[in-house]
C-alpha cells in the first residue's frame, strides 16, 4: 500500500517537474531556457543509459489520470502564472498550434515513413480558406474553420495521391514541388490578397462574446489571448488523444507496417491506397484546423507564414521530438517554438539555426529526444504467458 502511494506521488512529481521545466523555458531569458533544455537532455541521456527512462514511462503510464490532471491544471493556471503577460501567452498559443500541425505531420513521417515537405501548404490551405470565407463572404469563423478543414483534406488527397506511386526521393520532390506551387499560386492570386496577405480576419464568437475581448478571471484582468489559449489547448488535447488512439489502433500498426515494407504490408492484407491516403488526409485535417485557428487568432495571414521554410520547421519539430511518439512530437513542437521566439533578436540566424539543429539531431540523436517506443501489448492472462514475455514484447527483452 505504501509503495503504491509512493509511486503515485513520484509520478505526479515527475510530471510536475516537466511542467515546471517548460514554464521556466517559457518565461525566462534565452540563456536560462537553453541551460534548462541542455539539463533536460543530459538527464534524458543519462536516464536512458541507466534504464531509468523506461521506469519513468511506466510510472507515468500507470497513473495517467493524475498526470493528465496535472498538465491540465498547469495549462489552466498558465495565464495566472505569467501574470497575464500577453507575449508569453502568445508563445504558448503558437506552441499549441504548431503542436497540432506537427502531430498531423507525424502521421506521414512517423506513421508511413514518408517525409512530406508540404505541411505548410496544408496549414496555409486551412488558414486561407477560412480567412477568405469569413472576410470576403462574411461566413461565421466557425463554419470557415470547418471549410478550411475540408479544403485541407482535399489538398491532402492531392499530395497523398502521388505518395501511392512514388516513395523516397521522388515523393520528396513531388511534395516540395506542390509546396512551391502552392506558395506561387497564392502570391500570384490577387483575389486572395497575393503578396499582401489577408488583413482583418474576424475572430471567433460564442453568443456575442468575441474571443478578442479581454476577460477578468478571479479578479485579474487577463488579455484576450487567454480565450485562444484555452481553445487551442482543448483542441490539442483532443487531437493528441486521437493521435494516441490511432497509434495504438490497427491503423497505426498498418502505417508502421507500410513504413517497414509496403509490399509485405500489402501481402498481409493492408489496403495500401486507403491506409496511405488516410495518413495524408488526417495530417492535412490537423494542419488545416490549426491554420484556420492561426488566421482567426492573429487576424492577419501572409504567404510568408506558409512557405517551404515553414514546412522545414514543422519537419524539424517532428524529428527533434521523436517520430511516431505523440508526447515526443508535442515536446519537439513546444521546445522549437519557444527557442524560435527567444531568438527573435537574432532573426537573421533563424533558418541557419534550424539547419544546424536538424543536422545535429540527425547525427547525434536520429530518433529524436523521446524516441519511438517498442509496442507493448497487454497480456490477457498473466499467469499463463508470463514465462513468454519476450514473445509478447516483440523480443525486446
Amino acid at each position: 500500500m505504501g509503495n503504491k502511494i509512493y509511486r503515485y506521488s513520484l509520478a505526479g512529481l515527475s510530471t510536475l517537474g516537466i511542467c515546471m521545466a517548460l514554464y521556466v523555458c517559457l518565461s525566462s531569458a534565452l540563456l536560462v531556457a537553453l541551460i534548462v533544455i541542455a539539463l533536460a537532455i543530459v538527464i534524458l541521456s543519462v536516464g536512458e543509459r541507466k534504464n531509468v527512462i523506461d521506469k519513468v514511462y511506466r510510472l507515468i503510464g500507470d497513473n495517467k489520470a493524475l498526470n493528465l490532471g496535472i498538465i491540465a491544471l498547469f495549462i489552466l493556471l498558465l495565464p495566472f502564472l505569467v501574470q497575464g503577460n500577453n507575449y508569453l501567452l502568445h508563445i504558448a498559443i503558437m506552441a499549441g498550434i504548431f503542436s497540432i500541425v506537427a502531430l498531423g505531420l507525424n502521421f506521414q513521417i512517423g506513421g508511413i515513413g514518408q517525409i512530406n515537405f508540404a505541411p505548410a501548404a496544408f496549414y496555409g490551405m486551412g488558414a486561407y480558406t477560412s480567412a477568405f470565407l469569413s472576410v470576403k463572404m462574411g461566413l461565421s469563423p466557425w463554419l470557415g474553420t470547418l471549410c478550411g478543414l475540408l479544403m485541407a483534406i482535399v489538398l491532402g488527397v492531392v499530395v497523398g495521391f502521388p505518395a501511392l506511386k512514388a516513395r523516397g526521393y521522388y515523393l520528396s520532390l513531388v511534395t516540395i514541388a506542390l509546396q512551391i506551387i502552392f506558395t506561387l499560386m497564392i502570391v500570384n492570386s490577387p483575389w486572395i490578397g497575393g503578396p499582401n496577405g489577408i488583413p482583418g480576419i474576424p475572430s471567433y464568437q460564442i453568443g456575442g462574446f468575441s474571443f478578442r475581448t479581454p476577460v477578468a478571471l478571479g479578479g485579474i484582468q487577463l488579455p484576450y489571448q487567454v480565450n485562444f489559449l484555452y481553445l487551442v489547448y482543448i483542441l490539442l488535447a483532443l487531437f493528441a488523444l486521437a493521435a494516441n488512439r490511432l497509434y495504438n489502433s490497427r491503423v497505426g500498426l498498418a502505417w508502421n507496417a507500410i513504413e517497414q515494407d509496403p509490399i509485405v504490408a500489402a501481402c498481409q492484407g493492408i489496403n495500401l491506397t486507403n491506409t496511405q491516403l488516410l495518413a495524408f488526409c488526417l495530417g492535412a485535417a490537423y494542419a488545416g484546423i490549426a491554420g484556420a485557428i492561426y488566421g482567426h487568432y492573429t487576424s492577419f495571414i501572409g504567404v510568408e507564414n506558409f512557405d517551404f521554410s515553414q514546412s522545414l520547421i514543422f519537419i524539424c519539430m517532428v524529428i527533434l521530438g521523436g517520430t511516431d511518439n505523440v508526447p515526443g512530437v508535442v515536446l519537439g513542437a513546444v521546445l522549437l517554438t519557444m527557442i524560435d521566439e527567444k531568438l527573435r533578436d537574432f532573426s537573421g540566424y533563424r533558418l541557419l539555426m534550424y539547419g544546424i539543429v536538424l543536422i545535429i539531431i540527425l547525427i547525434i540523436r536520429p530518433k529524436g529526444l523521446l524516441p519511438k517506443r517498442i509496442r507493448v501489448y497487454q497480456q490477457k492472462d498473466r499467469s499463463e504467458y508470463s514465462s513468454h514475455s519476450a514473445v509478447v514484447t516483440g523480443g525486446s527483452r
Binding site: I109, G113, I115, F161, P162, K165, A166, G168, Y169, Y170, S172, L173, V174, I176, A177, L178, I180, I181, L184, M185, V187, N188, D261, I263, V264, F308, S309, L312, I315, I319, G348, Y349, L351, L352, Y354, G355, I356, L358, I359, L362, I363, P366
Partner: protein, 307 residues
C-alpha cells in the same frame, strides 16, 4: 519568326544552366544511390566564390595586369569551380557519410539542411550577402556581326556547356577512372570485388561533379547577370527536376530533361499572357506528371521493385 528564334536560343541557354546541375544529381545518384539536395546551393556558392575572386579579393584585376583578359577570366572560373568541388566533397564528408546505409530519409533531410546552412552562411557573411549582386562580366559582351540574336555571351554559355558535357563523356567512357564510376553505379559489390577502390572513386566522382556544378553556377549567374544568396534553392530544385524528367542516373537524360524543362518555362513565359508568374508552376507540374506516370524518366532504365 524572330521572336520564336530568340526564344529558342533563350531556352537553350537556360537548358545549359539546368543541365550541368542535373548532371551533378545524376552522377551522384548513379554512384551512390543518393540524392544530394544541396547541389543548387553549392553551385551558387561557387558563383559567389567566383564573384568574390573578381571583385572583393581583386584576383581578377591583378591577373588581368599580367595576362590577357580571357585567360585570367578562365583562371578565376577554374579556381571557383575547384572551390565548389572542394565544398561538395566537404558536404559528402559532413552530411552524407554519417548516414550511409541508413534510412534514406536521414540523408534526404541532412542534405536539405546543409543547403539551408550554406545559403544562410552566404547571406550572413558575404558582404551585403542578402542583397542581389550584379555578377561581374567575365564573359565578353557584344554581338557577333550585326545579328541582334547572337551575342558572344550566349554563344559562350552554350559552348562551355557543350565542352563540359563532351569532356565528361570522354572521361566516363574512355578513362579507367570513368569506367570505374560506371562499374560502381552498375553494381557496387561486384565493382569492389574486382579491385576498384570504392572510396577513392566516390571522392573523385564528387570532385568532378562539384567542378561541373561550379561551372554551372557561373553560367547561371552570367545568364541572369545577377546573383542572390537564395537562388540556389530554386536552381537545385530545377536541377533535380531535370534529372528526374530525363531519368535519374542518366547523364544524357539530364541534357534531354534540361531542354524539356527549359523549353516549357521559356514558352510559358513568352506565349501565355501573364505566364511569367506561372513558368515555374508549369515546370513543376510536368515533373509531377512524369513521376506519376513515367517515373523512370525519358532515358532512364525501368526498375522493378523487388521484395
Amino acid at each position: 519568326m524572330e521572336l520564336i528564334i530568340s526564344q529558342i536560343l533563350n531556352a537553350v541557354m537556360l537548358a545549359c544552366t539546368y543541365t550541368l546541375v542535373g548532371i551533378g544529381f545524376s552522377l551522384f545518384f548513379g554512384a551512390m544511390d543518393i540524392v544530394v539536395f544541396c547541389l543548387g546551393d553549392v553551385a551558387i556558392a561557387g558563383a559567389f566564390a567566383i564573384m568574390a575572386l573578381s571583385t572583393v579579393m581583386g584576383v581578377y584585376a591583378s591577373l588581368s595586369g599580367i595576362l590577357p583578359a580571357p585567360i585570367s577570366g578562365i583562371i578565376v572560373v577554374f579556381i571557383g569551380a575547384c572551390f565548389t568541388a572542394g565544398l561538395v566533397t566537404l558536404m559528402y564528408r559532413a552530411v552524407i557519410v554519417p548516414f550511409e546505409g541508413k534510412n534514406i530519409n536521414a540523408s534526404l533531410l541532412s542534405t536539405i539542411a546543409a543547403g539551408i546552412v550554406i545559403r544562410e552562411l552566404i547571406g550572413l557573411f558575404y558582404p551585403e550577402g542578402r542583397n542581389p549582386h550584379a555578377f561581374p562580366q567575365l564573359l565578353p559582351a557584344g554581338l557577333i556581326g550585326d545579328n541582334v540574336l547572337l551575342s558572344w555571351r550566349n554563344i559562350i554559355i552554350i559552348a562551355i556547356t557543350f565542352i563540359m558535357v563532351m569532356l565528361l563523356y570522354w572521361f566516363v567512357n574512355r578513362t579507367k577512372t570513368g569506367l570505374s564510376i560506371q562499374a560502381i553505379s552498375q553494381n557496387k559489390e561486384a565493382a569492389i570485388m574486382v579491385g576498384i577502390n570504392w572510396h577513392r572513386i566516390i571522392v573523385i566522382t564528387f570532385l568532378i561533379g562539384g567542378f561541373l556544378l561550379g561551372i554551372g553556377g557561373f553560367l547561371t549567374a552570367s545568364y541572369f547577370n545577377s546573383l542572390r544568396f537564395d537562388m540556389g534553392a530554386m536552381y537545385g530544385l530545377k536541377g533535380f527536376c531535370v534529372a528526374v524528367v530525363g531519368g535519374l542516373g542518366s547523364i544524357y537524360g539530364a541534357i534531354v530533361g534540361g531542354l524539356l524543362i527549359a523549353f516549357v518555362e521559356v514558352f510559358v513565359t513568352a506565349f501565355i499572357p501573364g505566364g511569367t508568374a506561372y513558368s515555374s508552376v508549369a515546370a513543376f507540374l510536368i515533373v509531377v506528371l512524369f513521376i506519376l506516370f513515367k517515373p523512370e524518366g525519358i532515358l532512364g532504365e525501368k526498375t522493378v521493385e523487388k521484395v
